[in-house]
């Protein structure tokens, strides 16, 4: 599903170069639930932006579904994001004064076929909201929802175009422990029921434990990449993750 070879990303700040990624090579198979950990500034977000086609690497190769997307143009990248990738952000990034339903509909405005009819958009958005258990909050505005509910709306939005890859950058960063677990449980269920490939960035160990595999970043390189021992726990989450 994902094949990354010698990926580097350099930022030029003033006259010196920040090396956010310094040669990352890894593969992610379809249906894997990868959690990415590492200290702040280790390059996790940078890596995810490249995986999400929001950014292009300075050098190296990124094959998505076997297709080299590291050198696509802006419009092609937008198309890939729309069709193949779903994003969940730390800050939810919902549009205020817009109902949950309309927030979820947003990616449908930019599909290849052009915007769908209002009725079709609505029914699809309702299905996505049902998948995160928020059918009854469809007409609420973000300000009327709790943090956990807002993040679930954001997940529904990420799901609406039925992407193959779900990317989340610290999705639980703004949530309390209990809500965080609920959100991670949704990810695990989505993987189990839909076979989604999921990459979640976190710096919390107990969140990372939800993944079938955990990758550790440090200074722009992968320092550890291991399959979690108690994998079943991730697919059928227990009460208390360690």
């Amino acid at each position: 599903m994902i094949a990354v070879r010698d990926l580097t990303k350099h930022y030029h700040v003033g006259d010196h170069v920040v090396r956010a990624l310094r040669g990352v090579t890894l593969d992610v198979a379809a249906g894997e639930f990868v959690t990415v950990v590492g200290p702040s500034g280790s390059g996790k977000s940078t890596f995810m932006h490249i995986l999400g086609c929001l950014d292009r690497p300075t050098s190296g190769q990124y094959l998505l579904h076997g297709r080299d997307v590291s050198h696509l143009g802006a419009d092609d990248l937008a198309r890939v994001r729309n069709e193949t990738i779903g994003f969940v952000f730390q800050g939810f990034n919902l549009m205020a004064r817009t109902s949950a339903l309309e927030n979820v509909e947003l990616p449908l405005l930019y599909t290849r076929q052009g915007a769908l009819g209002a009725a079709e958009r609505r029914s699809r958005a309702m299905r996505a909201l049902a998948a995160v258990g928020l059918t009854d909050r469809a007409d609420h505005h973000p300000s009327q929802l709790s943090g956990g509910q807002q993040q679930r709306v954001a997940i529904a939005r990420a799901l609406i175009n039925e992407p193959a890859l779900l990317l989340a950058d610290e999705p639980t960063g703004n949530l309390d422990t209990e809500t965080s677990q609920e959100v991670m449980k949704i990810f695990a269920e989505l993987r189990a029921t839909r076979g989604l490939t999921i990459v979640v960035i976190t710096h919390e160990r107990d969140i990372a434990a939800w993944g079938t595999r955990t990758i550790d970043f440090r200074d722009g390189v992968v320092v550890s990449d291991r399959v979690n021992a108690d994998e079943p726990r991730a697919t059928v989450p227990a009460e208390e993750p360690v």
């Binding site: 937008a78 729309n82 952000f89 990034n93 052009g114 769908l116």
Partner: protein, 521 residues
């Protein structure tokens, strides 16, 4: 367009409309965020659009009143007279020329044309006028099947209009030319009309039933003009000019249905002509109202004539007068078999008669014309058109400047508000890009916002502009015309302002890097 095709076209348009709807919805929602700025910006656009509309209304109004004035003044008239003579003034220095236009306003003490006898003074007078073209009628050896010009009309001063070169068939051919509106044949003479014991010496026009269409300032104070049947039969019916009617029957008496005598023949009076324009007042001695009218066929029959003195034509459009005049000249030269080297045996002239300074025309325009154009009656239609155009261009520029400034102010407002919107919603832009919006989608979004403001302002401006046009008409006395086209153009201007000033902010939004945009607080 067949229903099936229409359906297909609509089917093609549907995706576009469907995809525009969310864009429009988002735009309206975004605008409600900055109500005050949006409102102020809209005022700027509204004033600009209103001025554009008023500008076009004033221009169109001036155009229309000019057009009406031109028609009323007969500026779309073309007169074809028989013969082609040097003006008498050119020979004797104008000293002995009481009438500039021979054959028109002559008033000679000829009681009756019957029997037509050669007159003493005729010979030297005729020698006085040197034809620049040799015409058969001037040949003393030539035998004619009709009285010669001077016999026929009793004109000692046989000149323009006296040569027998124009025929009814010529008139019919002219009628078939494109751009020709009305055609009237004319045979003219002076005549003494008797009504009981009253007599009045006046002008007799043997003319055509289309003449009232050409004489736009005429009104029938009583009765009617003669009919086609009367014209075809050569009926002895007479229409009196108001002055002639008063002289023959007295003021306040309706002569319709009474009988008069002319050339010892009885005529039934069927109508009286007065003037509908206060500019033109009937007066003794004028050619229109101190006159009597009968079908030219009647004149032909009674005087044993077959030719015409003149043909009066109107062009359907006053702008096409010179064109139609040229076409007539060509047609007649061809019909008369005149070779290229020879001059015309007729004279085509277009009229640019006065009355411009009179009613109807906007005071400003009238003033400009009156101030700038000397000897108005002599200027050609082209010159007149140029002057009018210059006058209306001046005011168009003035209003145009006002419109430009307000639209500029409004446009900068739009740019400002759209930039504000882009800044405020940078994160949203980043999000939209993350879920698949391309640069052009973002661009379209912000252009839609800019255009939404300008169209809303434009709609208000159109209402304002219609009111302003009405106010201009009411207070300044300018004629204004708000047409569907001008409303359409005003709306288009509003949309164009939105697109033009929305372009820069929209481009900036489209060029944002999604990551940077997402990270913005």
């Amino acid at each position: 367009m067949t229903p099936a095709r229409l359906h297909r076209v609509l089917a093609h348009l549907r995706p576009l409309l469907v995809s525009l709807r969310p864009v429009a919805e988002t735009a309206v929602k975004a605008l409600s965020r900055n109500r005050l700025q949006t409102g102020l910006t809209m005022i700027g656009i509204a004033v600009g659009v209103a001025t554009v509309l008023a500008m076009m209304a004033v221009g169109a109004g001036a155009q229309r009143s000019i057009e009406q004035q031109v028609r009323a003044a007969g500026l779309n008239q073309i007169t074809i007279k028989a013969g082609n003579w040097k003006p008498k003034q050119a020979i004797d220095g104008g000293a002995a020329a009481p009438h500039g236009d021979a054959g028109d306003s002559l008033r000679l003490p000829v009681d009756d044309l019957m029997p037509a006898l050669p007159r003493a003074g005729a010979a030297w007078r005729r020698d006085d006028v040197v034809p620049i073209a040799f015409h058969p009628e001037d040949d003393p050896m030539e035998k004619h099947d009709h009285p010669l010009a001077w016999q026929r009309l009793g004109d000692l001063e046989a000149g323009l209009g006296a040569a027998a070169t124009l025929s009814f068939e010529d008139a019919e051919a002219i009628r078939r030319l494109p751009g020709v509106q009305y055609v009237a044949c004319g045979v003219h003479a002076n005549a003494r009309v008797h009504a009981g014991d009253r007599r009045w010496f006046t002008r007799m026009h043997g003319t055509d039933l289309e003449l009232p269409n050409i004489k736009r300032t005429w009104t029938f104070t009583s009765g009617r003009f003669f009919t086609r049947r009367e014209q075809d039969r050569g009926a002895q019916v007479l229409v009196l000019g108001q002055v002639a009617a008063e002289r023959l029957f007295g003021e306040g008496v309706d002569p319709v249905g009474r009988e008069v005598t002319l050339w010892n023949q009885p005529f039934d009076v069927v109508g009286v002509i007065g003037s509908a324009s206060w500019v033109v007042r009937p007066a003794p001695g004028d050619d229109e109202f101190d006159a009597v009218y009968m079908p030219f066929t009647t004149t032909h029959r009674l005087l044993n004539l077959s030719k015409l003195n003149d043909i009066t034509v109107t062009a359907a459009s006053s702008g096409a007068v010179s064109e139609v005049a040229r076409a007539i000249t060509e047609l007649l030269r061809q019909r008369h078999g005149i070779s290229a080297a020879m001059p015309d045996d007729f004279t085509v002239s277009t009229q640019a008669t006065s009355a411009i300074a009179g009613g109807g025309l906007a005071p400003g325009v009238a003033q400009v014309i009156a101030g700038n154009v000397r000897e108005l009656e002599r200027v050609t239609l082209d010159q007149l058109a140029t002057t009018l155009e210059r006058a209306s261009r001046t005011m168009t520029w003035l209003l145009g400047a006002v419109a430009f400034v307000s639209l500029l102010v409004g446009g900068i407002g739009i740019m400002n508000i759209t930039l504000l919107s882009v800044t405020e919603r940078t994160r949203e832009i980043g999000l939209r890009m993350a879920v698949g919006a391309r640069g052009r989608d973002v661009m379209r979004q912000f252009l839609a916002e800019a255009v939404a403001i300008s169209l809303a302002g434009g709609a208000a401006g159109i209402v304002l502009g219609i009111l302003a046009s009405a106010a201009i008409a009411a207070t300044l006395g300018w004629a204004t015309v708000v047409s569907f086209t001008s409303v359409f153009v005003a709306f288009g201007v509003a949309a164009a302002v939105g697109v033009f000033f929305g372009y820069y902010p929209a481009r900036r939004a489209a060029a944002l890097d999604p990551i940077v945009a997402l990270r913005r607080e």
